[in-house]
């Protein structure tokens, strides 16, 4: 069930759109629900869809399209690393390899201590700082090198 608090927050978002265009608020609604719950389940997506009067499959499309949405439990720190063309040209693959080795996980997996999870992401529009990654969709780290990655992980771990 969606909690009262969640619904209040969604209602606040809904005010930004006309009454017959409720589905415009789906991204915001899913974000709110994800913050509350940690990740999105099929049921939660369906509830969001019902609340916004839209087909469930349409909400599903949105939830699966953006990799900021988690469809299964993520680690405490979710590292999303860009592998698109600009980052790839700046050796993002090396950073990915390094991260995978260091954390002993593959993409879309969580470390045993549930601290880190790794995600492959699309271009974040900051190619000037390639290669780059974000942590928990919020904090961005640019000009990555294996050494810098080690440093960031240590900081997060402590």
């Amino acid at each position: 069930m969606l909690t009262k608090k969640t619904i209040q927050k969604i209602d606040k978002e809904l005010k930004k759109f006309p009454d017959d265009q409720k589905q415009s608020a789906i991204i915001a609604a899913l974000q709110i629900i994800q913050t509350e719950n940690g990740f999105l389940t099929n049921d939660l997506i369906a509830m969001a869809a019902d609340y916004l009067d839209m087909p469930k499959i349409a909400a599903m499309e949105v939830a699966t399209f953006y990799n900021m949405f988690e469809l299964k439990p993520a680690g405490k720190y979710k590292i999303s690393i860009c592998t698109n063309i600009s980052c790839a040209l700046r050796d993002a693959d090396d950073i990915v390899c390094h991260l995978k080795k260091k954390l002993k996980i593959d993409f879309n997996e969580v470390t045993k201590d549930k601290k880190f999870s790794l995600k492959e992401s699309e271009c974040m529009g900051a190619c000037g700082g390639a290669p780059l990654m974000t942590v928990n969709n919020q904090k961005m780290y640019e000009y990555l090198t294996p050494q810098k990655v080690d440093q960031i992980l240590e900081e997060l771990d402590s």
């Binding site: 099929n42 369906a46 087909p55 469930k56 499959i57 349409a58 599903m60 499309e61 699966t64 399209f65 953006y66 990799n67 699309e122």
Partner: protein, 781 residues
């Protein structure tokens, strides 16, 4: 003077150096299609919104550095387009290469092979070799129901199916889940696609990702013979193309006819062919010997009938009752009428579900194409999606565009469509709502009503808010409106009164009035004036007969009162059934003549807009069965009736059309403010008929019924009514009508009107209840 190019009626463009004058605001691909220039495409479809995601239609346009998608680019003054230049060709080749990267090379085992857009386009526009050596992606198939099989690895993400179900089907049931390389077509978590038009996505799919499940692996497209005919299931008369191999129908696809079915058909029309080959189908005439069916030959059958019929005293009128299904062709209907005349009976009819029999205006009242040209529309008492699945699409499109569509009905199966006014009530109250509208309309237009009984009825009427809204939209200045009455209304006792009031409203506002007829030839047989004004099916059944002839229907399912018809059959001495199928419901008959279904006979149907459509047999008769018109002709000759020497159905057609052109006038009944008008106490039984139960053939089509247990039907009740009546979901209750008592499980359904119980008609488990009767509930644990 300043030249304002966007106001100009026509603009000049060039395609491949050829000068063209075209309408502004058309896309390049539309222009190319009009003048017959081929541009390859996958995602573009003329009836769907533009997605421009396959990129196959890229063309070179002068002064643009990049190629432009022809489907999403509008023509502009002076535009020069090149569809065959090297630049365009290279672009097409590159796009083709990308599309084929993840497409499996499994054409030999793919049902689409031989009729595949991707195959054809790859040959015409692609490279002859692949440069791709890496791994291809694999997508797991999903089960989206018994009609459509999926091979999603073959999908090229054109999203035609997604757009079809959203825009034409009215419910987004499929979506593109995931992103980029991981994108795949999916329904929401293991759901199946339930749209009544879902089969069309099989035709729309440009590759073999969505194929027909019942047809799967049963033939290759080049082995099939294609023959055109007309669908026999609803009164739209959809044009279909039947694909035949070894004289067996393998599948059915739509044949484009913009003014009837556009380029779609409903699932009922598409998959009903399976019913033709059901085990109940008979090959020889059957005679009942000691309650067992015994096969006999035609000669013997005719002799037997002749002997029996000759014992009837034809001096006395109406000793013989003739009932035929509303799917009977015009030719057969005409012969029946002729036979009945010579056998001195007027007891002949085709209206099996109706309880109201007035004969005027029993057609759509306008062309099918004109429906959407109205300014506002009111539909009364039709379960559009079930009664006329494809016509419903036109109403839906109208509603989406105009926001002036209103509906008064008892089962809201149109709930994904925005309606201006929506009144979901019991059929017994339709009349009151229409009287409200009439009163409101009358006060605006000052329309004069002469009938005293209507005046009296109007006196007691108070206009509610909802009907006021509907009336307002109907009486807007200079608007051209329409009122349509569903076929289900005529299945109510009050049907005629409802019709009269609706016609008055239409007259008051100068609107189109029409009835949406139920079956393929309902209109044709009415126009033939099969029965006299005062005769109707109930009359035929209620009066004692020596003998009955029943043609092409199942008395137990297709007549609204199985008890009465069984009683009538029992009391008659000799009953003849002419039917493609035999089943338990024919146990009161003495002889069954195997008649071919419409796919195996030539004939003519008149659809809801009074359009005559003739068709020829698409396959030869099954076994020794014979077309209905031949059976009747030979029967008449055996009975030594006069003037039955027809050589072909065309000869009969000519005479039948003469008969139709006689334009019979009918007595128009006046409004009766009768006692039946009273609203019944307790719960009302509503019996809409599901699209997949409407006639003998579809009831036997296995794929359409695959997901259900035939022994089990449900009663649907509005949750609010359940609360009031102290009922809970999945509870078993006993319900009884005048006809029978059955135990049934209930389910809550918000789409059902209050204070009613909805049990779909013509289902095996519930047919004994009859249709649209009063109902009593007894609880059981």
């Amino acid at each position: 003077m300043v030249k304002v190019w966007w106001l100009k009626l026509m603009i000049k463009i060039k395609i491949n150096g050829k000068d063209l004058e075209v309408k502004p605001k058309t896309s390049i691909i539309e222009v190319a299609d009009q003048v017959g220039i081929d541009i390859p495409r996958f995602c573009y479809h003329k009836k769907l919104s533009v997605a421009a995601n396959c990129r196959m239609c890229l063309v070179e346009v002068k002064n643009f550095a990049k190629p432009l998608p022809a489907c999403a680019t509008q023509v502009m003054e002076g535009m020069e387009i090149f569809t065959k230049s090297k630049f365009t060709k290279d672009t097409q080749k590159s796009v083709m290469e990308f599309l084929l990267i993840n497409h499996p090379l499994d054409c030999p085992i793919c049902d689409q092979g031989g009729e595949c857009d991707l195959q054809d386009t790859a040959v015409a526009y692609g490279a002859s070799k692949t440069r791709y050596t890496e791994e291809k992606r694999v997508v797991f198939d999903k089960n989206i129901g018994p009609l459509i099989s999926t091979d999603l690895t073959r999908c090229i993400q054109c999203t035609r199916c997604v757009r079809f179900l959203k825009e034409v089907g009215g419910m987004a049931e499929l979506g593109l889940v995931g992103r980029g390389e991981h994108a795949e077509i999916s329904a929401y978590v293991d759901k199946s696609v339930e749209s009544e038009l879902s089969g069309n996505i099989i035709d729309l799919c440009p590759v073999g990702a969505l194929t027909s499940k019942p047809f799967r692996y049963s033939a290759r497209s080049w082995e099939l013979v294609r023959r055109n005919t007309v669908s026999c299931h609803d009164s739209l008369g959809s044009n279909i193309e039947v694909h035949v191999k070894d004289n067996i129908i393998k599948r059915v696809i739509p044949k484009e006819n913009e003014s009837i079915n556009e380029c779609w058909i409903s699932d009922r029309d598409r998959f009903s062919y399976q019913g033709l080959y059901h085990k109940d189908r008979i090959n020889n005439p059957l005679k009942k010997v000691k309650n067992q069916w015994k096969e006999i030959d035609w000669e013997e059958a005719y002799e037997l009938i002749k002997n029996k019929i000759n014992t009837i005293n034809t001096k006395k009128p109406n000793q013989l009752g003739i009932l035929c299904s509303p799917q009977t062709t015009i030719e057969e209907g005409f012969l029946l009428k002729k036979i009945s005349k010579q056998l001195n009976t007027t007891h002949i009819d085709h209206r099996l579900l109706e309880k109201s029999f007035s004969k005027n205006n029993n057609w759509l009242g306008c062309k099918i194409e004109e429906i959407e040209s109205h300014d506002s529309i009111l539909v009364v008492g039709s379960n559009l999606k079930n009664d006329q699945p494809l016509l419903a699409h036109r109403f839906r499109r109208f509603a989406m565009k105009n926001n002036s569509f209103s509906i008064i009905t008892s089962y809201d199966d149109f709930n994904s469509t925005p309606c201006l006014g929506k009144i979901i009530v019991n059929p017994s109250t339709y009349l009151n709502y229409l009287l409200e509208i009439l009163k409101e309309v009358q006060s605006v237009t000052k329309y004069k009503i002469n009938s005293e009984s209507i005046k009296n009825a109007l006196k007691q009427i108070k206009v509610s808010k909802e009907t006021k809204k509907i009336s307002e939209s109907l009486t807007r200045d200079k608007s051209k409106n329409a009122i349509f009455i569903g076929h289900q209304v005529l299945a109510q006792i009050e049907g005629d009164n409802i019709k009269i009031i609706a016609m008055h409203i239409a007259k008051a506002i100068g609107a189109t009035f029409g009835v949406i007829p139920g079956y393929a030839n309902s209109v044709g047989l009415s126009e033939l004036n099969l029965s006299l004004d005062e005769v109707n099916t109930d009359e035929v059944i209620n009066q004692k007969k020596e003998s009955f002839i029943m043609i092409n229907f199942d008395p137990y399912f297709d007549y609204h009162s199985p008890k009465k018809i069984t009683k009538a059959l029992k009391s008659a001495k000799f009953n003849i059934a002419i039917s493609p199928f035999v089943s338990d419901s024919l146990k009161e008959f003495d002889i069954v003549l195997p008649m071919t279904p419409p796919t195996e006979t030539s004939g003519t149907y008149m659809n809801m807009e009074k359009r005559l459509q003739s068709f020829a047999a698409v396959t030869p008769p099954h076994g020794k069965s014979r077309p209905g018109w031949k059976i009747l002709r030979v029967l008449a000759n055996f009975l030594e009736l006069e003037d039955f020497s027809y050589d072909s159905s065309d000869e009969i057609k000519v005479e039948a059309i003469e008969e139709i052109n006689k334009n019979y006038s009918h007595n128009i009944k006046d409004f009766e403010n009768s006692k039946k008008n009273k609203i019944p106490q307790g719960l009302e039984l509503i019996s809409p008929i599901r699209a997949i139960d409407s006639d003998m053939i579809v009831r036997r089509a296995s794929a359409l019924h695959q997901n259900e247990n035939i022994d089990q039907a449900f009663a649907y009740i509005n949750p609010k009514t359940m609360l009031k009546e102290n009922l809970i979901d999945d509870q078993k209750i006993k319900v009884s009508s005048e006809e029978a008592e059955i135990t049934i499980k209930i389910k809550s359904d918000e789409k059902v009107s209050l204070n009613s119980i909805l049990i779909f008609g013509k289902q095996l488990a519930t047919a004994s209840l009859g249709m649209n009767h009063k109902l009593k509930i007894k609880r059981s644990s």
